[in-house]
């Protein structure tokens, strides 16, 4: 099928096309322009604007090119005087509901320089302030069709603007109803926030009960901004492009394991205009989320002024040059014995700068090389593998996703933790694959799931065993991996009814999920760090392993952070140790075993050593307490190598040339210069090859493992051993998740009220029913009391959250939050703060 070629003629010229291509795609691939406003590569066809009508021989009617598939022997004409006349008439009809003064204005040729006419569109300022001016698809189509007049009076619908949301505004009066935003929101992103509402002339883009985007559960991924052909959806406060020279800089967002390629646009004065996804294949295929495009924008705004190095001398802070700071750092490191020095890195560094950092540590001779890794995710998996003698795959191969007919997400929300993966899964769902979700907290992907299993937190083992038991008894098929008979004996100890009750799931939904797993195989089980970040993680993994083996499916972890897959290689290369929390270092500082700490990035370090050197893009967080602060380029200005969740190396050049904007050196060159100051040389030029070979390497002895069922009894608590939990009245089970909305010691929600409005790390998510029961309202300031201490939080409603369960995802910037995150699931009581 894929090999066949379709032969057809467009405008008399013989053309070849692939089956499944639309006439519009085929014409475009030949470099032909057919006007169109609603079609967009990657979105399902809509045929709403009717501008792409073409003539096809033997067909009585003109057909929309975007919805007509190519056929052998087709003869297509894309442009005739009649067609163009028809298109022009259609465009005029479209324009009867869209302000079009900017398309017809007499002053248009001089507009850029003279700005002669102030009132052009609806508002004063009109097209001068229209952020789409010069980049508007309607303008392009009008130019192509040589629009001279519009036969109809423009009727101003006078709808009010959406102004109450941060980052995104919508002007319904500019909307063409092309439906791109609706399609991208539902079909590509799976957010389902937007829809057409009303009918006939009243039709508009709307949300559920016309609520604000925030209240509608919008994730602010900004895809609607990217696809809107006009300025109906536009980024808040965006400077119009016309009249400005725009400097673009591509970079990789280091904030999660997707490593999306983004593009920052700067104005002449060095001001960051906006951040958009970089995509060679059009806006639909671009990857970006609120964190990367709006969160980093706030961070980029902070970078307006250059951050300078700071030295603490005799309790006074001095601003110095980078050379002086590096010399001071070298001098301090020389002053101590190797064993008195600790070097710790946090996430967000590029892979090559991590190599440089640890190589420097090796050259200094210190054994105290640490990688701060609060998730502890791959470490736990590795420990489990050693214990059980099995092996779990690490790298997600995107090409293999096509193979699976069911995706089972276990405590992972790729929509917010690994966007690239989610969009690929969404594609598979569109072509018929099924989605199952097991999660005790809010999981955006759950909306798209055939069965969304919202179980009791900490009882994932029971939920998975309940599924396993159903699957075992629904099929007569045997499994031939060792240990199956033992597993059958063991699973009989649990009754189906008890497993369902303890997991907090209904028998019917478990039945449906089991049914789907059986009927559409193979399945891919994907689990995230929350699945292992709880006291019973080993039980969870045992149950999941057995379930996946019984279904002959695949099992893979989803790493949430950049370079996570590199940690093993770094361990082997440099003998570094992984720290889930900083307590060991803090203790060593207290007992003066460690006297100097060189921190790479921000760390929630509680103790201050004699000398603290911090290399970070901002003087924020730990850097504020540093004796020597070495500022580096931020991820927006930096290039380098990074490793994503598929184990691929992503690379961007380091060149950053925006006039009027000076940047600090990249991390890697700072480390190299520091090494020079210490009389050492780093082999930076070898790093790409070194990374490549590290990532390709198979784990040692991978062939000797056989697949086998894991016995439950040594790991999983016996059904009788555990009494039912007696909860105190008013006590909540709080799942503490990880938060990725920070960079370089800066918390996005702390920088911007807009970001705080959409994603506040101090929210305590509650089901409104629970809130009612506890006498709480949304927005109320509360204190959450836990066994480890008290937190000041704000109530946030989450109607989809399971009653009885609360969710909190703090940025890990203090010891208490670290502690709670380390627990994974805690109990707490909520009190109103006066």
């Amino acid at each position: 099928m894929s090999g066949t070629v379709i032969k057809l003629k467009i405008n008399g010229l013989p053309v070849e096309a692939r089956p499944g291509m639309t006439v519009l795609e085929c014409a475009r691939s030949q470099g032909l322009f057919i006007p169109s406003l609603c079609d967009l590569e990657g979105l399902p066809a809509f045929a709403g604007c009717r501008l792409c009508l073409v003539e096809i021989a033997q067909r009585p009617h003109r057909s929309p090119a975007c919805q007509t598939l190519v056929e052998d022997g087709m003869e297509i004409v894309t442009s005739t005087p009649e067609l163009e006349e028809l298109r022009l008439a259609t465009l005029e009809l479209i324009l009867s509901e869209h302000p079009h003064f900017c398309l017809l204005c007499q002053e248009r040729p001089d507009c850029q320089e003279l700005k002669a006419t102030m009132v052009k569109a609806l508002e004063p300022g009109g097209c001068i302030f229209c952020p789409k001016d010069g980049d508007c698809e309607l303008q392009r189509v009008a130019d192509y069709l040589k629009l001279k007049r519009v036969a109809y009076d423009f009727e101003d619908p006078g709808r009010s603007l959406w102004q109450s949301d941060p980052f995104i505004t919508h002007n319904p009066n500019l909307c063409l109803l092309c439906g791109r935003c609706v399609r991208v929101c539902a079909e590509v992103r799976g957010q389902n926030v937007l829809s057409f509402v009303g009918r006939g002339p009243e039709t508009a883009i709307g949300t559920f009960l016309e609520r604000s985007l925030q209240e509608s559960g919008c994730s602010f991924c900004g895809a609607c901004l990217d696809v809107c052909p006009v300025a109906a959806f536009s980024e808040r406060g965006l400077t119009a492009a016309r009249g400005h020279r725009i400097y673009e800089h591509s970079f990789i967002c280091p904030l999660c394991s997707s490593l999306c390629e983004l593009r920052a646009e700067y104005l002449e004065d060095g001001q960051l205009r906006r951040i958009i996804p970089e995509s060679g294949r059009g806006p639909v295929h671009g990857l970006a989320c609120a964190r990367g495009r709006f969160g980093l924008k706030e961070i980029g705004d902070r970078k307006q002024e250059r951050v300078l190095p700071v030295l603490r001398r005799n309790e006074r802070l001095l601003t110095v040059s980078p050379e002086e700071a590096l010399a001071a750092a070298a001098e301090s490191l020389r002053r101590y014995q190797p064993e008195e020095i600790a070097m710790i890195s946090s996430a967000h560094g590029t892979a090559d700068s991590l190599l440089a950092f640890y190589q420097l540590g090796r050259l200094l001779g210190t054994d105290n090389l640490f990688y701060f890794y609060p998730e502890d995710f791959l470490e736990r998996i590795a420990a489990f593998e050693t214990e059980q003698g099995i092996q779990v795959r690490r790298k997600i191969d995107f090409r293999e996703l096509e193979r699976y007919r069911t995706f089972f997400l276990v405590e992972v929300d790729p929509d917010s933790e690994a966007l690239a993966l989610w969009l690929d899964i969404k594609k598979r769902l569109r072509s018929g694959a099924r989605l199952l979700v097991l999660d005790s907290i809010l999981n955006r992907c759950g909306q798209e799931a055939a069965v969304d299993l919202r179980g009791h937190p900490g009882r994932e083992t029971e939920a998975l065993l309940a599924l396993l038991k159903r699957i075992i008894f629904k099929t007569s098929q045997l499994s031939f991996y060792p240990g199956y008979h033992h597993l059958l004996d063991e699973i009989n100890l649990w009754s189906e009814e008890m497993l369902a009750r303890r997991s907090g799931l209904r028998a019917a939904e478990l039945d449906r999920a089991a049914g789907i797993l059986l009927e559409s195989s193979p399945a891919l089980f994907l689990f995230g760090q929350r699945f292992l970040h709880q006291p019973r993680w080993a039980e969870n993994l045992t149950a999941l392993w057995n379930l996946h083996l019984r279904l002959e499916s695949d099992l893979m972890p989803v790493t949430g952070k950049a370079n996570e897959l590199l940690i093993d290689g770094l361990k082997a290369d440099f003998g570094l140790r992984v720290l889930p929390d900083l307590e060991p270092v803090e203790n060593a500082i207290k007992t003066e075993k460690i006297k100097a700490v060189f921190a790479f990035g921000h760390l929630p370090l509680g103790e201050k050593p004699e000398v603290l050197i911090v290399q970070n893009p901002f003087r924020a967080g730990l850097a504020e307490r540093a004796d020597i602060f070495i500022p580096s380029a931020s991820c927006l200005e930096n290039g380098g190598l990074m490793v994503d969740l598929a184990g691929n190396i992503k690379q961007r050049g380091r060149e950053f040339r925006i006039p009027g904007k000076e940047t600090n050196p990249a991390d890697i060159s700072l480390v190299a210069r520091l090494a020079e100051a210490l009389g050492q040389r780093l082999e930076i030029e070898n790093y790409p090859g070194r990374l490549e070979s590290r990532l390709r390497e198979k784990p040692a002895g991978s062939k000797s493992f056989i697949k086998k069922y894991l016995p439950l009894s040594p790991v999983v608590q016996k059904p009788s051993a555990e009494p039912e939990v007696n909860e105190l009245p008013g006590q909540l089970e709080v799942v503490v998740g990880g938060n990725l909305d920070y960079y370089g010691g800066l918390v996005m929600a702390g920088l911007s009220s807009g970001f705080r409005a959409i994603r506040n790390p101090d929210w305590l998510w509650l089901n409104p029913r629970d809130a009612d029961f506890l006498g709480l309202r949304e927005g109320q300031k509360v204190a959450l009391e836990t066994a480890w201490g008290q937190l000041n939080l704000e109530i946030k409603y989450a109607p989809r959250l399971r009653p009885g369960t609360a969710f909190y995802n703090p940025v890990l910037d203090d010891p208490l939050r670290m502690k709670l995150y380390g627990q994974g699931i805690i109990k707490g009581t909520v009190r109103v703060r006066k």
Binding site: F196, R199, T207, F208, L209, S216, A450
Partner: protein, 152 residues
């Protein structure tokens, strides 16, 4: 209300094509479609809430607010339109003191216009408190209004 919704849901298979039927049943039962019903429908039929809302706003048969004691519906379909449905609606609006799509709580009357009632042979059609009246002339409107507001 929750129980009523759940009873109705329980009587329908969880398939998308029963969504409209569900909404009709709820409106019959509760007189309008409260937010809770839309959310329950979205959850049960696995249709995004925004889409449920889009559907409800598309069909004029559905309403999101409680109705009135009396209700006048004036058809604006093509056949009715050419037979003067526009003037009919305007006359009702004038006499009832209510704009189409609005209600007058004092008189307890709601007036609305719909796109087609499917009985074009009777055009222009007006539905007064559920009773279809065909070939209504503007001159008959005062009588209808008097009957309506008089009967209370």
């Amino acid at each position: 209300m929750t129980e009523k919704l759940e009873t109705i849901l329980a009587s329908l298979p969880a398939e998308r094509r029963y969504l409209i039927l569900f909404l009709h049943l709820v409106q019959q039962e509760l007189d309008y479609l409260p937010e809770e019903a839309l959310r329950a429908a979205a959850d049960y039929f696995a249709v995004p809430p925004a889409e449920v809302y889009g559907l409800v706003t598309f069909y004029s048969a559905f309403r999101l607010k409680p109705g009135c004691r009396h209700e006048v519906t004036v058809c604006q379909g093509t056949a009715c339109h050419v037979r003067g449905a526009g003037e009919l609606a305007a006359e009702f609006s004038r006499l009832l003191g209510v704009r189409p799509g609005d209600k007058n709580p004092e008189k307890g009357v709601a007036l609305r216009t719909v796109n087609c009632l499917g009985c074009c042979a009777l055009a222009p059609v007006v539905v007064v408190d559920g009773e279809y009246q065909g070939r209504v002339q503007v001159s008959k409107v005062p009588e209808i209004v008097k009957k309506l507001t008089g009967k209370k």
